[in-house]
């Protein structure tokens, strides 16, 4: 589905990462593979360091980020008219975690506050939602929170998923743009792929029990339980290579924009191999599609997109503007993209959770 938004803009991006850093080698003896094989995996997939939480939750990370922005004087509580939290690791089944954050910060009652359950395409889907809310007369400033702590749901003996998983949060401020501007977007879904990326137990369909927590080895040698995150890696890879180039082509055609006119392709960061193959297929130069987040911070689901932006061009974005294509893809299956002019921003940085 094609989407179009007029006179909206992002004015700030803050990423909040857990301060705990683990190395690939810290877990290598947990895996059912030879050390040599695992080291090859590290090299090809770009796995190295990643940030994961200890006890902190999604609300903790977001509240920390908001307090930083309030203290820095770049955001005022009463200016916020909507709070959207995109997460797949809420503090509770109920109430919505966005409401927990709202309460902890003492935000005003007269505002929209909601959770959205989305994963790797969640940042882009959340932006779409924020742009739509800004069509309301009384909504002038939206805070989009994207946060996940999925490391808690990954088996330490799962070599497919554990080496890549990272945690983190981001706060993106979106406002009405007084200047004429257009943002183009696409959003797509294929629910028949719902089981390709799934935590099978723990919800109402299959509650967690002693049985669901039993660790079992799969055909590839990974050991996990039904309470853990499970991914059919081959299917995800093929879905991404098949669908994302087409989606971006459609987006650029709709915006009447050539690929060469886009300064950066800031995409979700699953692993180095997948993103390199995507850049090759799309014939996008590697320097225009940064691929350096999973090795430093891990794959933090949709949060990897704002992290990629801030890590690579955060300082520049506080002074300049760029044409940027965003794309997220994963659980659902869902995939979404946005083409927009980004910057200059009031802030664009990464901080550690304290």
């Amino acid at each position: 589905m094609k989407l179009k938004f007029n006179n909206k803009k992002i004015t700030g991006i803050l990423n909040i990462l857990p301060s705990r850093e683990v190395q690939f080698e810290d877990n290598i003896d947990n895996y059912n593979f030879s050390r040599a094989q695992s080291m090859k995996l590290k090299l090809i997939m770009g796995y190295d360091k990643r940030r994961i939480v200890k006890e902190e939750t999604v609300s903790d990370l977001c509240i920390c980020g908001f307090n930083y922005l309030f203290q820095k004087g770049v955001l005022k509580k009463d200016d916020l008219d909507a709070l959207i939290l995109v997460t797949q690791s809420p503090d509770y089944f109920m109430p919505p975690t966005s409401h927990v954050i709202h309460g902890a910060l003492g935000l005003k009652q007269d505002m929209v506050c909601m959770d959205i359950n989305q994963g790797c395409s969640g940042y882009v889907i959340g932006l779409n939602q924020a742009f739509q809310l800004l069509n309301q007369e009384e909504i002038n400033k939206v805070a989009l929170l994207n946060a996940d702590t999925l490391s808690k749901k990954v088996s330490p003996k799962d070599r497919n998923n554990n080496p890549q998983i990272g945690d983190g949060a981001s706060i993106t401020i979106i406002e009405k743009d007084q200047k004429e501007s257009t943002i183009y977007g696409t959003v797509k879904v294929e629910g028949k792929g719902a089981d390709v990326l799934i935590i099978p137990a723990g919800g109402y369909k299959t509650p967690s029990t002693a049985e669901t927590s039993l660790m079992k080895e799969d055909d590839a040698g990974n050991v996990r339980s039904l309470d853990h995150l499970m991914m059919k890696g081959d299917e995800v890879f093929n879905f991404v290579q098949r669908e994302i180039p087409t989606m971006v082509e459609e987006l650029l055609a709709e915006a009447n924009t050539e690929k060469s006119e886009v300064d950066y392709f800031m995409f979700h960061q699953p692993n180095k191999f997948m993103l390199k193959k995507l850049a090759d297929k799309m014939k996008v130069a590697y320097q225009k599609m940064p691929n350096n987040i999973v090795e430093r911070f891990g794959n933090s689901s949709g949060v990897s997109i704002p992290t990629t932006i801030a890590f690579n061009i955060g300082e520049k974005l506080e002074k300049e503007s760029f044409s940027i294509c965003l794309a997220g893809f994963g659980v659902g299956l869902s995939w979404a993209s946005i083409l927009l002019r980004l910057g200059p921003l009031d802030f664009c940085e990464i901080i550690d959770y304290k």
Binding site: K40, I44, A220, G233, N238, F273, L278, D280
Partner: protein, 80 residues
């Protein structure tokens, strides 16, 4: 001088030294290559032949035999 076939066999051997690839008719059904081995092989083939195998071609069935891998290389302009 090494032929393309020789180079492919060398790369297969590097990926899984415990197997004799010349004795198999289908590396996948014989359980000699798993999905990560395929990824490793693609990386090696890309580097060795200076190509980038298309992401949509990275399917197990395209890596079941030396002939199939050679067909993939031909598709990417590698000649014997």
């Amino acid at each position: 001088m090494n032929t393309v076939e020789d180079k492919i066999l060398t790369l297969l051997q590097e990926a899984r030294p415990e197997f004799d690839f010349e004795d198999s008719e289908d590396f996948i059904t014989d359980g000699m290559l798993d999905s990560f081995d395929v990824v490793q092989l693609v990386t090696s083939l890309d580097e060795t032949f200076g190509i980038s195998i298309d992401g949509t071609d990275i399917l197990p069935e395209n890596f079941g035999s030396v002939d199939k891998i050679m067909a993939l290389l031909h598709k990417n302009g590698v000649t014997t």
